[in-house]
């Protein structure tokens, strides 16, 4: 657990408000809630300074009151740092991590496509993973969505 | 007149060629399967495939030139069937031998390739056009080595007729051994002509779907497949006549059996080749044809000229 604690300490050293926010449930797993305003700085620091340079994936989830985005990044020691940020449901805008991780395109497109988040700085040339003909405003991963709402929405068009 | 019609339509003409090409397709497929440790198709499979295709709907694409699209397969079939008439089957002579029939046969055999090109081009579909371009690119690569390798033995024999070549080597069987480099070149080039692995680039299904035949279906495709089967038999027969003109008994029935055995040997070699090799890329194919096959076929001609000079002397 030493390496994991060291990572948390370094982060807390660079960003004092993260002091005591991290959780290490099992070996090589760190969960950390990051405030939205410093999130980009934290992930940049983790990527460039702490060498968490592999983006495993980005999970987007609907936590009923707000949206939560978890950036799973790992380093060569096998430690996975799970950085969490929140966004309000009314205005779910987050920044793209493409400048840091080139492979993030599909993960961020997925957040836009099925959760309805808005990722600033992401090229808007394609839709993933839903088909191009998918109606606007239907985001299946939201808890209040059900296939019926899609059905009702389509009736006018068909 | 009746006899001529019989020759052309029944034996050894169209009907016989149809039967024997289906048989050789079966042999090819069975052998391919056995070399891959599989059971392979049952004996009636080629015929069943043919009949099934005939009974299927034939779709002509809207964009395609309808008349050419329909008529092209018949050309391919007719050209190969005609070429077959000039190849000796049961003796030293073909049915209608004349001086220069070797060249005529080779030219008849280019027609199917041209029809493949036209078929692809006039299909007006992306994959078919790509296939058509590949047909022509490949054609320019293998055609010269193929011609030179077949003309080498003819140069040595001093005749431009297939019957004449057969006759010459029948008289001097040992001399046929100097043509072995040419045989190897001819076998490779034949794979190119028949568009089989390693040179099945024009209809490589994992790359460009069906290549030239992408848009073909039903009876038009059946005719094309028939033409390719014909081509296999005619090319094998030509190679057998030019490179294996030995052990030809005077009894026509025995002679015919020997002819079949030779065909079998050539088809076996061709099948073995397509089992043992991977498909080449078009640039690798052209490199191989011009840098390996062409020099070897030139070498063959050189050898033949030298041997001819030695014999004359």
């Amino acid at each position: 657990m030493e390496k994991e604690t060291l990572v948390l300490n370094k982060l807390a050293g660079a960003f004092p408000c993260l002091e005591g926010a991290g959780v290490i449930p099992v070996e090589r797993r760190i969960f950390l809630d990051v405030p939205s305003d410093i999130f980009m700085d934290v992930i940049k620091y983790a990527c460039l300074e702490l060498k968490f340079d592999h983006l495993c994936t980005i999970t987007g989830l609907d936590a009923v009151d707000y949206f939560e985005f978890i950036y799973h990044i790992s380093n060569s020691d096998g430690i996975v740092l799970n950085l969490k940020r929140r966004a309000p449901k009314e205005n779910p805008v987050i920044d793209s991590v493409l400048p840091l991780y080139d492979g993030a395109t599909f993960y961020e497109l997925e957040l836009e496509g099925i959760l309805g988040a808005e990722v600033t700085g992401l090229p808007k040339d394609r839709q993933y993973p839903l088909p191009d003909s998918w109606p606007k405003g239907q985001y299946p991963l939201r808890k209040d969505w059900s296939p019926d709402s899609l059905q009702n929405n389509l009736q006018g068009e068909c | 007149m009746a006899l001529t019609l019989f020759y052309i339509l029944i034996f050894p003409g169209f009907l016989f060629l149809s039967v024997i090409s289906l048989v050789f397709e079966l042999i090819d497929r069975r052998l391919y399967a056995r070399l891959q440790n599989r059971v392979g198709p049952p004996w009636f499979q080629p015929l069943a495939d043919f009949i099934k295709l005939l009974s299927k709907e034939s779709i002509v694409p809207k964009e395609a030139d309808s008349r050419i699209f329909r008529i092209i397969p018949v050309f391919a079939l007719a050209a190969t069937a005609t070429a077959f008439m000039y190849i000796p089957m049961w003796g030293l002579k073909s049915l209608y031998p004349f001086s220069g029939d070797l060249i005529v046969v080779l030219y008849f055999l280019t027609i199917p390739t041209l029809t493949f090109f036209l078929a692809g081009w006039f299909s007006s579909s992306l994959y078919a056009e790509l296939g058509a371009i590949r047909v022509m690119t490949q054609f320019f690569a293998y055609e010269v080595p193929l011609y030179m390798s077949i003309l080498g033995p003819a140069l040595l024999a001093g005749t431009w007729s297939i019957s004449g070549v057969t006759n010459y080597y029948h008289m001097h069987p040992l001399i046929a051994l100097v043509n072995i480099p040419g045989l190897v070149v001819a076998l490779f080039a034949t794979q190119g002509k028949l568009e089989r692995v390693p040179f099945d680039i024009p209809d490589a299904e994992t790359e460009i779907v069906g290549g030239t035949f992408t848009e073909y279906s039903g009876r038009f495709l059946a005719l094309f497949r028939m033409a390719i089967d014909f081509e296999l038999v005619v090319m094998s027969a030509l190679i057998a006549a030019v490179f294996f003109p030995v052990f030809i008994p005077s009894n026509p029935i025995l002679g015919f059996l020997v002819f079949l055995v030779k065909l079998l040997i050539v088809v076996f070699l061709l099948t073995l080749m397509r089992t043992a090799l991977a498909r080449l890329r078009i640039d690798q194919m052209i490199n191989f044809c011009w840098k390996v096959l062409a020099p070897f076929s030139l070498l063959q001609i050189l050898i033949d000229l030298i041997v001819r000079g030695v014999i004359k002397a």
Partner: protein, 115 residues
């Protein structure tokens, strides 16, 4: 040593070997003893607890009461994914996987099996 046709000797050796494939519908295919095939239901053992209904990932099994302490199982073969979870979960071992896997049919109704 790179060369062309390295596989040829091996290929030729195949000519004298028995083929590895079989003519399937004419020659029966053999499956392992513990194969998870079509379900078998033993109505003597069933106590009607309906655990199988609840654990089934694809809603493929229904238990119906036919009389007092008498139950029948309706298996929807087209929905069943042959995971065998119902067999594992059954407290009385009333369900069992058989080795039967040849279940294809042209008719959807025949996929509904009552046992």
């Amino acid at each position: 040593m790179k060369s062309v046709g390295r596989i040829v000797p091996y290929l030729l050796s195949m000519l004298v070997k028995k083929p590895n494939t079989i003519m399937y519908p004419f020659v029966p295919a053999v499956v392992a003893d513990d194969f998870r095939g079509a379900l078998k239901f033993d109505k003597e053992k069933c106590i009607g607890c309906k655990i199988c209904e609840r654990v089934c990932p694809s809603d493929a099994i229904e238990i119906e009461k036919v009389a007092d302490k008498q139950f029948k199982a309706i298996v929807l073969m087209d929905k069943c994914i042959f995971c065998g979870q119902c067999v594992d979960s059954c407290p009385k071992d009333a369900l069992e996987n058989t080795k039967n896997f040849e279940l294809a049919s042209l008719n959807r109704e025949s996929m509904r099996v009552e046992i």
